[in-house]
């Protein structure tokens, strides 16, 4: 399937690049005033999920590596800052996010080095196994052990989860009523800034090198590309953005639990990314929004919620086999080719 450089095929050609970006950013900027508190929180989750999916797609769509272990970096993005709050009274959201990103990056540097020794299905299995190892460390309480009695107590109280209070944003502590709108702008800024960076990477020689490795790694070696090393770089970069999403998620939900480290959460990220379309830059964003939306719709059923969610996902996959972005690009091309009048 060809890369969709414009982001949405024919539609992108009509409403180009920065104009579209400004339009969307502007619309999102007024959401705190337009939406109810509940819908605003839901939008926050969708934006965070979109950031995580964009980050994952640097590995999945651009580099062709399916990781079922990225939940480990998502969770680490929140746990690192949560531990620092608990033991060093860190109160700044900026420091909390920075710690999370660094921790996720460090973990990915080590685990990614191991994973990228393998390819294809073996890479996927290794990514899952290593991440489940990380999950086990949290759910068993092993990570809390070195912190002595306090750590043990925290583990017993939270079942491996940690509470994250309302942190200061740019030095200001917001009251409960103002906190979510203020955090929303942090999340939005993080997503838009990350999107710009990831787009630059995607279009850079490094991004094209990753795509060439994805298409044929043997050919990539004889044009001089160090395939394993570049896959490792892509893995770490991807995990950094997913870690940032995890940190924001922890602050939004005011807690982080081992569930966010479990491979099933990794699978949700993959599912949402594929749903949107891995060969389109904006595909993962569409997929994330669709996934969160479908999850919300399925919640209307108290009984059989998971079955309803599964059914909705199956319907969407059958209706849009090329992903949502692929379907939108096809529709836009159809409109463009329609004769005038």
């Amino acid at each position: 399937m060809p890369d969709d450089r414009a982001g949405l095929g024919g539609l992108g050609r009509h409403v180009r690049g920065w104009h579209a970006f400004a339009l969307v950013a502007g619309a999102l900027a007024v959401m705190p005033q337009a939406l109810s508190p509940y819908l605003l929180i839901l939008l926050c989750y969708a934006l965070i999920f979109a950031l995580a999916c964009l980050g994952l797609n640097l590995l999945l769509g651009t580099s062709g590596l399916l990781s079922l272990g990225h939940a480990a970096y998502f969770g680490m993005g929140a746990y690192a800052g949560a531990f620092l709050y608990r033991f060093w009274q860190l109160e700044s959201l900026e420091l909390y996010l920075l710690c999370g990103v660094l921790a996720a990056g460090l973990l990915a540097t080590v685990l990614g080095y191991l994973c990228t020794r393998a390819t294809r299905i073996h890479f996927t299995i290794l990514s899952l196994a290593l991440a489940q190892g990380v999950h086990a460390l949290f759910i068993s309480g092993a990570v809390f052990e070195p912190l002595g009695g306090v750590g043990k107590g925290l583990y017993l109280l939270g079942g491996g989860g940690l509470y994250i209070p309302r942190l200061t944003i740019l030095g200001a502590l917001h009251q409960p009523g103002d906190f979510i709108p203020a955090l929303y702008y942090v999340i939005l800024t993080a997503l838009l800034a990350s999107g710009v960076v990831l787009r630059r990477i995607d279009r850079s020689p490094f991004g094209h090198a990753l795509k060439s490795i994805r298409d044929n790694d043997v050919r990539a070696t004889f044009i001089g590309l160090p395939v394993r090393r570049y896959r490792w770089y892509a893995f770490v970069l991807s995990a950094i953005f997913v870690g940032l999403a995890g940190g924001l998620y922890g602050q939004l939900g005011r807690q982080i639990t081992p569930d966010q480290l479990h491979w099933l959460f990794s699978a949700q990220l993959v599912l949402a990314t594929v749903l949107g379309g891995t060969r389109s830059f904006l595909g993962p964003v569409l997929g994330a929004f669709a996934f969160v939306g479908l999850d919300e719709v399925s919640s209307w059923w108290i009984f059989g919620r998971k079955a309803v969610m599964g059914g909705l996902l199956i319907a969407v996959v059958f209706a849009f086999p090329r992903g949502l972005a692929g379907a939108m690009a096809a529709a836009a091309d159809l409109l463009r080719r329609r004769p005038a009048g």
Binding site: P2, D3, P205, S212, D215, V218, R219, I223, G224
Partner: protein, 239 residues
């Protein structure tokens, strides 16, 4: 520049190359001729490192590169255009070339081999047609266009040696003539060439020296005119 000594290469359990030795000097065009299945592609792939050599050695610019990974041989100046062109179908021609030029610039910045000469200008002087193709995706090119882009991409790495595998295969006679001119131009730039070719007539037009290979062994080494008059070579090429 390139020296291969007594290499033995296997594909699985099959012993394909049985003590192959050849050399390529600076600025030379050397052709390796043989019929299909003689071991030409295996020789090229062994030099490039795509196939491990079980015995023997490969020296490039005096350095033993026998155990070096493929990408490091490319960075040291071995350009390669395989038989199936090997361009990336989902990238545009410009993007295919961009990667090689970027790697070449990185090599120059870290003090690697390479000159300040405009790489683009060199490529387009050999294949001006490539300029018109930059926006097109690799999968939308014709066979001849893909071969052009494959060679252009190999040149974008500023190689000192170009390995071409069946560069003329499947091309119309007028295009073969075009490619012959291109190869001569590349040689005039000081780039050495080792070309695997099953058509003796094509090889004779461009080669300074020629090796003939049959069943994984070199059976002839000399100038093209001598090959044309050699019964054993002609018999081996006809099969």
């Amino acid at each position: 520049m390139l020296e291969i000594n007594d290499i033995h290469t296997y594909r699985g359990p099959a012993h394909i190359l049985n003590g192959v030795s050849l050399t390529v000097g600076p600025g030379e065009a050397v052709c390796l001729v043989g019929r299909n299945g003689a071991g030409k592609t295996t020789t090229i792939e062994s030099i490039m490192g795509l196939l491990a050599v079980r015995a023997g050695s490969i020296r490039f610019h005096g350095e033993d590169v026998t155990g070096l990974p493929v990408h490091q041989r490319a960075r040291r100046g071995m350009g390669y255009a395989p038989e199936n062109t090997g361009i990336f179908p989902e990238l545009s021609v410009a993007e295919n070339l961009m990667i090689s030029r970027w790697l070449s610039e990185k090599a120059r910045r870290t003090g690697g081999d390479g000159s300040d000469e405009d790489v683009e200008r060199r490529i387009y002087s050999v294949f001006p047609e490539v300029k018109e193709l930059t926006g097109r995706q690799g999968q939308n090119l014709s066979g001849g266009q893909k071969k052009m882009v494959a060679i252009a991409r190999a040149m974008a790495l500023s190689p000192s040696l170009l390995l071409l595998d069946e560069a003329f295969e499947g091309l119309a006679p007028v295009v073969v003539s075009r490619f012959t001119d291109a190869v001569i131009k590349i040689k005039e730039m000081g780039i050495s060439l080792l070309i695997a070719e099953s058509n003796l007539a094509n090889a004779s037009r461009i080669a300074d020296r020629m090796y003939a290979i049959d069943r994984g062994e070199i059976i002839f080494h000399g100038v093209p005119q001598d090959a044309l008059g050699n019964d054993e070579v002609m018999k081996a090429l006809r099969g």
